[in-house]
Amino acid sequence: MEIDIEEAIDEILESVDVDRETVEKDLRKFLDYGVPLEHAKQAVINKYGSVVKEKKLKDIKVNERNIITVAKVIAIDEREVEVRGEKRKIYRGLLGDETAILPFTAWKDFGLQKGDVIKIRNASSSEWEGQPRLSLSEWSEVEKVDYDIDLIKRAPRKCNLIDLRPGLSNVEVRGKIIYIEERIVNIGGEERKVFSGIIADETGKVRFTAWHDFGLKEGDVIRIKGGYVRKWRGAPQLIFDENSEVEKIAEEIVVQETIVPLYKIVEAGGGIDLYMQGIILDVRKDSGIIFRCPKCNRRIRNGVCEEDGEVEGTPDLRIRALLDDGTGAVDVIFNRQISEKLLGKNMEEYLDIAKEAMDYSIVYEEIFDKLVAKPVKVKGDSMPSDFIVTIFAKDAEIVKIDEKKEAEELLMQLEG
């Protein structure tokens, strides 16, 4: 019993700012009156008002309230959400100290910037993907402090380039610089050099931006530890900076044409120089012969351009098709040249067919008949779109297989 009381006193002292003697006196008084120890403990804490002590991030558990901590903003992103029909801006990111890194959500604008070291009071925690997430609400207090803190060294997560997803942080990748250019950008009145380009490994290619001069040049094979991934024009972009570790390595990387399952492209939201293979399951209604404005190249309808008024339209052939490989689905846009290759007919022939029938929809019908249910291999880049990941094809071909050989191989796998 005495030991229990001593422990209770220690616990109370963690929460209140009163000397040990007073706490012990008060606690024993409650116990003498027959109040159970747990209640007595709480009663003493309530009497003096809980002074919450500062916590390290690793000690924060799920569903705590009244949290006080000091942490560094590692990453922060703004996004708009709808709460009960009302649009609100929230801020999400990562906070770190020397013990842990935790995700956070701020429900109001505390003016946080990446790199700020802040003291947070009255925050709460919830669960997110199995770990605690800090939540900064209207009632939380955030103040910047004038000292720096160390961050825990986590082992970065090794990724193939094709598996990079917007939102990932602390990744480790290796790849070959395919292209790099230097730019000067203006950030808050300060000019900074940034380097952007394309990096490739055996699985694919991705755009990158380096916020620090690592002396990189085309053809270098490098390993990057501590990069993170953002979304740019609908596709993942790898970012690394002075906090990342970049080293040149003596490895050969052979950039291949690896076919990427469509679910990966859908998960990533897009990408560049992607190779994919699937079956065309639909041809969208806006496919076929279209007319473009000779001045601005926009698509015109009924001889009228939204920008330039009544114009003599130039015909063009284009196809937007739904490509599905059984794991995912994307839209693919084929330009005139690729469309002609897939269809085995050129635009002039289609113009003649349409003129003879006095109906352009006949071209759509022929495209549908020719392409739907056909297996197609596509190379292309994603482009920003709202509803479905959309790929602009740079090349495409109808896939021909030796079905007997394929069937025999599958039978062999089945035996093995």
């Binding site: 859908v266 079956i279 297996p375 079905e403 007997k404 796998q413």
Partner: protein, 274 residues
């Protein structure tokens, strides 16, 4: 996210007795097959064997599509009149491709009738049909392997299966299937798969090999029999059988000649050389 279209053999799909749906509003329903396919949309390919009108208005259609393992039932609903008319106009038999959503009818607890509601229907070539059989087989083999891996785990989860390299949708489906289907008979599905594949390797081989010879023979028969409005279909078959061609092969050859545009059907039941 658009649900992918599963290439799945009729027998595996029709064996399913489990449906899942998350609690969110308008959440999609998924049919979970014994091998762990998690199906909301299907890509069905096979031979159209039968189309019937259903319902009082006669706009709806029910079609049966035969693949090497069984029969997919496909509905064209009243709000998809174009698909109903495509089905009605298609010849029987012919090769068909359908994209459809799972259609689940559960008249009583534990009794499940599965079919598909067509979103797209189209006549296709035999090459496209064979390509589908290969894809459906390859996907089925992946699920058989995933299911076997899951059976060897003490407490299989989707995360563990993803760790082995299975795509998320297969990992999730297999983890769900192993909970509800006790002791899935993998051997049964392996035999099914073997039969589906030998459909391409063996039986097709001979027809393919003799194709050119038979085609030439049948062309000559039609030429010799045809009058102004063509040669009667039955007479052509009869004559071809006399020349030692099997009946089923004659039919294949006629279809193939029509596909190649060498013969056509000037009126129902008549054949004519172009």
């Amino acid at each position: 996210m658009r649900e992918p279209a599963w290439r799945i053999f009729a027998a595996e799909y029709n064996d399913a007795t489990h449906v899942i749906q998350s609690k969110e509003e308008k959440a999609p329903k998924y049919v979970i097959t014994p091998l762990g396919a998690k199906v909301n949309r299907l890509f069905i390919v096979g031979v159209l064997t039968d189309v019937e009108e259903i319902g009082a208005e006669g706009i709806r259609r029910r079609a049966r599509i035969s693949d090497p393992t069984g029969i997919h039932v496909v509905y064209a609903e009243a709000f998809e009149p174009e698909i109903a008319s495509i089905l009605a106009d298609m010849e029987i038999p012919s090769y068909i491709a359908v994209v459809g959503k799972t259609r689940i009818y559960e008249p009583e607890e534990g009794v499940l009738y599965l079919s598909a509601r067509a979103e797209m229907a189209k006549e296709i070539s035999i090459e496209e049909r064979n390509y589908w059989i290969i894809e459906a087989s390859r996907n089925m083999l992946i699920r058989i392997n995933a299911m076997r891996d899951a059976m060897n785990m003490s407490n299989p989860t989707a995360k563990q299966l993803r760790g082995l390299g299975y795509p998320p949708i297969i990992a999730e489906g297999v983890a769900e299937a192993i909970k509800v289907y006790k002791d899935v008979d993998l051997q049964h599905y392996e035999i099914m798969l073997r039969e589906a594949l030998s459909f391409i390797t063996s039986s097709r081989k001979e027809i393919k090999k003799n194709h050119e010879q038979e085609e030439e023979k049948v062309l000559k028969i039609i030429e010799s029999l045809q009058s102004e409005d063509g040669a009667a279909w039955e007479a052509v078959i009869e004559e071809a059988i006399k020349e030692g061609i099997e009946k089923s092969v004659v039919e294949e050859v006629i279809v193939s000649l029509m596909e190649k545009g060498l013969i056509y059907e000037p009126q129902l039941g008549k054949l004519k050389v172009v």
